[in-house]
Amino acid sequence: MKALNIDNLSFAYGNQLALDQISLDVRSGECCMLLGPNGAGKSTLFALITRLYDSHKGRIELCGFDVRQQSRQALAYLGVVFQQTTLDPDLSVMQNLRYHAALHGIGRREADKRIQEELERLRMFERSHEKVRQLNGGHKRRVEIARALLHKPRLLLLDEPTVGLDMPSREAIVQHVHDLVEVQQLAVLWATHLIDEIAEEDSVVILHRGRIRAQGGLQNLLSESQTENIEQLFKHHTVGVA
C-alpha cells in the first residue's frame, strides 16, 4: 500500500523554482532515504507534504487522501519530526506529549497509555516528568519520535533528525526507526545528508537543485551508476550536475 504518493509536484518561491516535477512513492514497510545537499529542496518538499506550503502544480496523497482536498484525513496518517526541535522547553515531557495527543483527539487515559508505551520503548519513561529544557539533544529527539508515533501514523517524516547528535544517539535513532519499519510496517521518508544512516535494504532518492536525479533500491542504483558505495553514488548525481 502506498503511504505517500507524490505525482509531478512543482513549487517555486516567486520566480525561483525550488522543486521541479517531483514524483515519488513510499510504501508501507519501506524506509526511503531522501538525500540531497543543502538547498536541494528537501525541506520545501516536507513543507508541502505537511501542507505548511501549498502547490497547485502536482498532487500529494497520504494513504490515498489528497493533501490539498482532504487535508484533515491525510494529516491524521502523518507523523513528523522536524529539523528543529519543536518541543516546548518549559513543559515536561509528559505535558508535551499530552498536548500532542489532545491535538489528535486522543483522550487522557488512552494518551497516558500510549505515552508510556512509546517512552518505554525509547527508554525515556523514567524521565517523563522532567522539563524538556533539562534533556540533552539525543533525548529530545527520542521524545519527538515518541510524539510523532503517538497517534499511530502510517507515514513518518523525518527531516534530518540526527543533526548535531553524538554517534551513540544517532545509532540508537537509526536502529529504532528501522525496527519500526520492519516490525510495524511503518512507511518512512527520511531526509538526511549523513550517508552512514542508510541501511542496505533502504530505498534512496537523490534530490539536487529541486529535481530527482536518482531513485530506487540502493543496490540497483549502485549497479546502474557503476559506483561502489553510497558516497560515490551521491557524488555521481550531484557533483558537477547543473
Binding site: N38, T50, F82, D90, Y99, H100, L103, G105
Partner: protein, 270 residues
C-alpha cells in the same frame, strides 16, 4: 467523535497556554507592573493636570485614576495580544508552530483555539489588576466586576485577533519592534484610554475622529461602560466588527494557499 476531537484539542491548546503562563511568573508580573506604574505614578502625577468632567457612564466627578482604569485594562489586553503575536512568530521561527499546523484540524479552528487561550490569560491578568486597584480604593459597583467579563472576553478576542493578523504578516522576529512603534503606540495613544473624547476634540478634530473609531477606543469604552453596569451598543458592535475583520484576515494569512506563509523566506531553504 469529531466534536470530541475538537473539544480535546481546544482543551489541550488552552491548557498549554495556561501552563506556560503559570510557569513564566515574570511574564505575569511584568504584565501587571506596566499598568500599575501607569496607575500609581502617571495617573497620580496627572491628576491635577487633567480635570475630568462628568460624562457617561460616570454620574459624578471622578478621579483621574478611576478614569484610566478601564484604559489600563485595555492596555493589559493589548499587550497580551501583542505578546501572543510575538510568541506565534517565535514559535513559527523555532518550529513549534509547525506541530500545531500539521495536526488534522482546520486551521481556522486552531487559530481560534490559540486566540481563546491568549484571551483567557489576558482575563486572568485583568482581574488581578482589578483586585490591586480595588485595594488602592478604585472601586466599581460589585456587579460591574461580573458585567465586565463578557466585555473583557470580546475585547480580548478582538485584540488577540489583531495580534494573530500581525503575526501572519511579520516575516521575522526582529521586525517585531516595528509593531511596537507602528501599532501598539498609535493604538494606545490615539484612544480614549488616557483622555476622554471631548478632551481630544478640544485640541484636534482629526485626532478626535481617529480616536472615536479606533478599535482600541471602542474596546476601552465597552469595558468602561460594563464596569459601571451599562452596555455600550456602539462600542460593542464596533469591537465585534473589528474582531470579525481581524480574524478573517488572520485566517487568510495562515491559509497555505493564499496567505503570507508561502511568501516567507527561510522556512524552505534546504
Amino acid at each position: 467523535m469529531r466534536v470530541g476531537h475538537y473539544a480535546l484539542a481546544m482543551q489541550g491548546i488552552v491548557g498549554r497556554e495556561l501552563l506556560r503562563f503559570l510557569h513564566q511568573r515574570e511574564r505575569f508580573i511584568s504584565a501587571l507592573v506596566r499598568p500599575l506604574v501607569w496607575l500609581f505614578v502617571f495617573a497620580a502625577g496627572f491628576r491635577a493636570a487633567l480635570g475630568i468632567a462628568i460624562s457617561p457612564p460616570y454620574e459624578t466627578y471622578i478621579l483621574y485614576e478611576v478614569y484610566i482604569t478601564p484604559g489600563l485594562l485595555g492596555m493589559i489586553q493589548l499587550f497580551n495580544g501583542m505578546q501572543s503575536s510575538l510568541s506565534m512568530v517565535y514559535d513559527r521561527e523555532m518550529g513549534s508552530m509547525r506541530m500545531l499546523m500539521v495536526c488534522p484540524l482546520p486551521r481556522w479552528f486552531l487559530l481560534v483555539c490559540k486566540l481563546i487561550a491568549g484571551t483567557a490569560v489576558s482575563i486572568l491578568q485583568a482581574y488581578a489588576f482589578l483586585l490591586i486597584a480595588w485595594l488602592y480604593d478604585i472601586q466599581a459597583p460589585l456587579a460591574g466586576y461580573l458585567y465586565i467579563l463578557p466585555a473583557l472576553l470580546l475585547s480580548g478576542l478582538m485584540l488577540g485577533a489583531l495580534g494573530l493578523l500581525l503575526s501572519s504578516l511579520i516575516r521575522q522576529l526582529e521586525n517585531f519592534a516595528g509593531v511596537m512603534n507602528f501599532v501598539i503606540f498609535p493604538l494606545f495613544f490615539m484612544s480614549t484610554a488616557l483622555y476622554p473624547l471631548w478632551k481630544i476634540k478640544e485640541s484636534s478634530q482629526w485626532l478626535y475622529w481617529l480616536a472615536q473609531y479606533n478599535p482600541f477606543s471602542l474596546a476601552v469604552e465597552m469595558i468602561r461602560f460594563a464596569l459601571y453596569e451599562q452596555f455600550n451598543v456602539f462600542a460593542a458592535s464596533g469591537v465585534a466588527l473589528a474582531f470579525l475583520l481581524f480574524m478573517s484576515l488572520a485566517i487568510l494569512g495562515y491559509n497555505p494557499s493564499r496567505g503570507m506563509m508561502v511568501k516567507k523566506t527561510g522556512a524552505g531553504s534546504s
